[in-house]
Amino acid sequence: MDYLVMQIINGIVIGSVYALIALGLNLIWSITDVPDFSQGAIYVIAAYVGFFAVTWAKLPFLASIFVAMCVGAAIAFTCEKMLFRRWRGTTHHIQLLCAIALFFLMSNLAVVFWTGKAKFMPSYLSGKIPLLGFYVTYERLVVIAMAGILFGLVYFFITKTKMGKSIQAASQDKETAEMMGINIDTVNSVVFALGGALSSTAAVLTAPLYSVYPTMGDLPLLKSLVVVILGGFGSVGGVLVCGLGLGIVESLGGFYISSAYQHGYSFFVLILVLLFRPKGLFGRM
């Protein structure tokens, strides 16, 4: 019983990471129709930036999250401005290829600069609280809390501000939105920067729990792509529910069935959902 609760909490922690990356991916995907693989590499770069901000620049943890967030947003913003913008409206294969190339580029740059050896981020907050007979470390709670806060902020941004409403409009119908006077260029820039910032935050939040290494972005990227599809486009709540759900399924499956296939369970969930609901669980479009 204790283990069940523990696994569920672990699942929520890793699930909120998936959900954070997926939120940015979802926005980018719904505006540009491109699954932006390069977010997986921005995740890696941001984790290293956070790592060096803490160990080398001796910044406090929250400040290093902010630094990494800015770097991630800047990278995504630049990539969109210099590359993805060129091919808007042409076949998606080119944009996807470019995203994959950027993913290769950045994750291999990480190998070149910082070697393939895993780095361990020092713990920034010690202590744990008892919960139903076992302990949860504060660091894990911080991940969940930060994810919650960011989801709230993004939800507010999307539904309440003018820019957010433009994003919603553009994701539903680009031409009409443009005719209504929405600047698609700005929308694209904002969405990419937001995606980069969210992935970077997720990266720095998990860095102290696991370790920092150049291929750390592969699996979270894959899982968050699944979360996007499961959740369906244009639903912030759907992304949150599916992200957490996938995390819990994985960690329970890994514990009770077989840990060797831990990263394969999401495939079965995906196939099951798509067979019955091809538009995702919460999709509106």
């Binding site: 060129r86 290829l97 994959i100 190998v111 070149v112 699944v226 995906l270 196939i271 067979l275």
Partner: protein
């Protein structure tokens, strides 16, 4: 009608193209005579990749379905063939067609549910299937040796006095298979079935409206391309004689997609060229292993910015400039 037929015939048997092909063939045949063993080895690697990529071009370039699990079919073919010869004692010449057919069936089994989805949904689902195959290979210790891989896979049995365990004879064997595969695909994409594939690529809804069973033909294209990948996997297994799961991880599938689009999808020749160039560039860069993928990714982005159609687009441009002069 007559005119258009003549045009087709001209396009097919343009004298310049034919000469080019003959010269290419002679060069390919002569390489083991003049080049060192290392070059022959790299050529074999390039040919295997080219075959894998060209079989993928049928799916992406002609049917317009982006998938990320070609490396998985390659792996299934390789492991099936290796296990058939190692555990069941079958000769290579029996194991090769069986592994191709088995991969074809697996492709149909996966394609049937997955191809109900479209575009990026399909792509991500196949991505996961690829990862699942990798996990199964990695974790079935008893059957596949898990992370240790399989060793001592026998080389193809020789006949008529040819011994296929030497480098040069494997080169010719793989070259023959490669030519057969390209001719098969060339005939296929120009047949009625190929036209249906192209119709699906251009507009799936329209194809359905004019009475094409798009679901069946998409699955057909997917499984043919999977089956061919299985054959290439079998050749790979019996040439290298050892297998490791990491060869079939998602990196391979991504490389296949990149090589296809880099060369120019939907042209058959483009992907072959793309695969050849990528293999050689990565091989030449071996002196700086960390920088290989960095420089390669930058080159890819530069090509994309310059010419979105890939290498074929650049060649066409040069050809147009040539004619203007």
């Amino acid at each position: 009608m007559k005119n258009s037929l003549r045009e087709v015939a001209k396009a097919k048997f343009g004298i310049k193209k034919l000469m080019g092909l003959v010269i290419l063939l002679i060069v390919l045949l002569l390489i083991p005579r003049v080049a060192s063993n290392y070059i022959v080895y790299v050529m074999i690697l390039a040919m295997l990749y080219a075959m894998l990529t060209v079989s993928y071009d049928l799916l992406l370039g002609y049917t317009g379905q982006l998938s990320f699990c070609h490396g998985a079919f390659y792996g299934i073919g390789a492991y099936t063939s290796a296990l058939l010869t190692l555990k069941a004692g079958l000769p290579f010449w029996v194991a090769l067609p069986i592994s191709g057919m088995f991969t074809f069936v697996v492709g149909a089994g996966v394609g049937y549910p997955a191809l109900r989805l479209r575009g990026a949904y399909f792509a991500v689902t196949t991505f996961f299937f690829g990862h699942l195959v990798y996990l199964v290979i990695l974790n079935s210790y008893k059957l596949t040796g898990g992370p240790l891989g399989l060793r001592d896979i026998p080389p193809p049995e020789g006949f008529l006095g040819i011994d296929f365990s030497s480098m040069n004879s494997s080169y010719y064997l793989i070259l023959v298979f490669g030519i057969l595969m390209v001719v098969f695909l060339y005939r296929l994409v120009r047949s009625g079935i190929g036209r249906i594939f192209i119709a699906i690529r251009e507009d799936q809804d329209f194809a359905e409206a004019i009475g094409i069973n798009t679901a069946a033909f998409k699955v057909l294209s997917f499984s043919i391309s999977a089956g061919l990948a299985g054959l290439v996997g079998s050749l790979f297994a019996h040439f290298f004689r050892l297998l490791h799961p990491s060869t079939f991880a998602w990196m391979t599938s991504e490389m296949v997609v990149i090589m296809t689009l880099f060369g120019g999808a939907g042209t058959l020749f483009g992907p072959i060229l793309g695969a050849g160039i990528v293999t050689f560039v990565l091989e030449v860069m071996r002196f700086a292993p960390e920088f290989r993928y960095v420089i390669w990714a930058i080159a890819l982005i530069v090509v994309l910015v310059f010419e979105p159609k890939g290498l074929i687009g650049i060649i066409e441009r040069i050809g147009r400039l040539w004619r203007k002069k």
